[in-house]
Amino acid sequence: MFSVAKMVVVSLVATNGIEINQLEKQTNSIKQENKSLSEEISRLSSIRRVVDEAMKLGFTNNSPVVSLSQAAPLALR
């Protein structure tokens, strides 16, 4: 009984070589793409690039922060 079951499983799996090969190739290609995209994200999100792009779009450095050390004036009447 066990031998018959084993034969069935082996014959089923043995024919899946092509499919496994294709899946392996697909996995590798997705891994490669994932890696490339991670590199791209790092390159695009570098501070130097973001600053350069922001300058091109007309952004400027923020003005100095002013801290008020006393209570804000109130209208008396």
């Binding site: 090969n21 790092s42 570098s46 501070i47 130097r48 600053v51 100095p64 050390s69």
Partner: protein
Amino acid sequence: MSSSRIKILIINFFLLSFIISVKLFYWQIISGEKLSAQAESQYQSLRVIPGSRGLIHTSDNFPIINNREIYNLFINQQRDYSLSGENLDRLVAILEPDETLKEKMKIEIKNKFENRDLAWSYLAKSIVKEQKQSIENLKIKGLDFESEEKRDYPEASMSAHLLGFVGKNSIGSNQGYFGLEGYYDRELRSRSGTIEMEKDAFGISIPIGKTVENQAIVGRDLYLYLDRGIQFMVEEKLKLALTKYGAKAGLVVIIDPKTGGLISSASFPNYDPGNYSSTDRMLFPDPVVSQTFEPGSVFKVLVMASALNEGVIKVDEQCSQCFGPRVIGEYTVRTWDDKYHPNSTMTEILQHSDNIGMVYVAEKLGRQKLYRDLNNFGIGQLTNVDLTGEINIPLRSPEKWADIDLATISFGQGVAVTPIEMVSAVGAIANGGKLLEPHAVNKITDSEKTMEIRPKIIRQPITETTAKVMTELMVSATQYGEAKWAAPKGYRIAGKTGTAQIPIAGHYDSQKTIASFVGFAPADNPKFVMLVSLTEPTSSPWGSETAAPLWFDIAKEIFKIRGILPS
């Protein structure tokens, strides 16, 4: 059957057996290995699984060092290969952007294609994915690519000294040099793995066949305390300051006093780690850990803290010798501006950065106690920061100190420290008297576990009470000292300026100085300790006019970035 015919048959039989035995001997013994290998190559496939070197991330999880796939292009002359004149022009256009070098490259490639003696030869190394795709589109026969990983620096030369670089060692393997790459080379290093599988006649893997797998070892990733935003800002400001003050070199180190974590570490001139081979080797060591300097007046805070901790002086005690220059042996000790402040208190001595006052403090402390207390602050010792190339210059034994040595050490001359040593020692004042080991790496991870590097207290050189008193003295030195004009309003900053003369050829050069400022903020709950040091500024030799404004300028930005409000 006649006996002669039987004999012939027997002889033939033995002859045949002998031939078969010889052939079997040849197949099994002489060519056995070769034939087994040939057979294996027919039914077994070997796949190499590359192991990637570990990445290095900043505190915002950004990979400041990444791995990038690059390709080497070669002609595989074991295959059919050919190159038309038109394709040669296109190939060179892809590989060589420099017009002046194109002709030379064309000749080289042509020669390689015509040389039939080589099995294979490289046409170009380290080409990127886009170039590879363009070359593949040309469909040139016989060209092949091999891929390898190369370190990629998305933030270019940011933190170059801190990070180090990866080069080749004597056996041609990748090895980290300098900075973190050097220190953590074992953790970051990877090893390629293999999978051997049985395949069928069409080269397709047999799922139920024998599989032998050697797993690839992926390098561990490092996560730093380094704040990328602050590091960028610091480098920008330091670059501008070097031009503004005409300084030859400069550095900024910022640590978190509660963890010892390196928030920022910048020094110029630096180099591009992606192109280290074309850099002057002298630039590779990180000045923050590999260069010493005479600290000058910034050192006074350590001497004063020691004296207060030993109880040999009191804050409101008046200096009885501050009325004029001091003659010690054959030397005369003066103040930096030759102005004297009789009966100065300890607070005023720091405010005026009074050398005579510091000699008074050191003499009260004595050689043995000063030596012991400075050692307790880590002066003369390695901090054990996790960076390659840290050096230390041990303090000379106090028995060998002449009277003038005790005097000069009190104001930071005649003693040499590394920037990391100095900032760590001041960090102890900011951290309630506890000296921490500085660290660049916060945690190390791999696919299975994360190892956190916890803050490590080395010792407590001063009490918490002394640390509080010393903080007030440093706040007062910032508010009323020489650099008060540059200090941001509304913040309590504990700091001290320094202008040290540089020893050159056995004497101190009066024109060349190292200008520095060390301090921490906010004074009541310090979030950072920072040292700024500028080498040979030409616009002004004084720390109060060069390093201090830069320190305050950087501090103002950190207040904004970290949301630190005025007190």
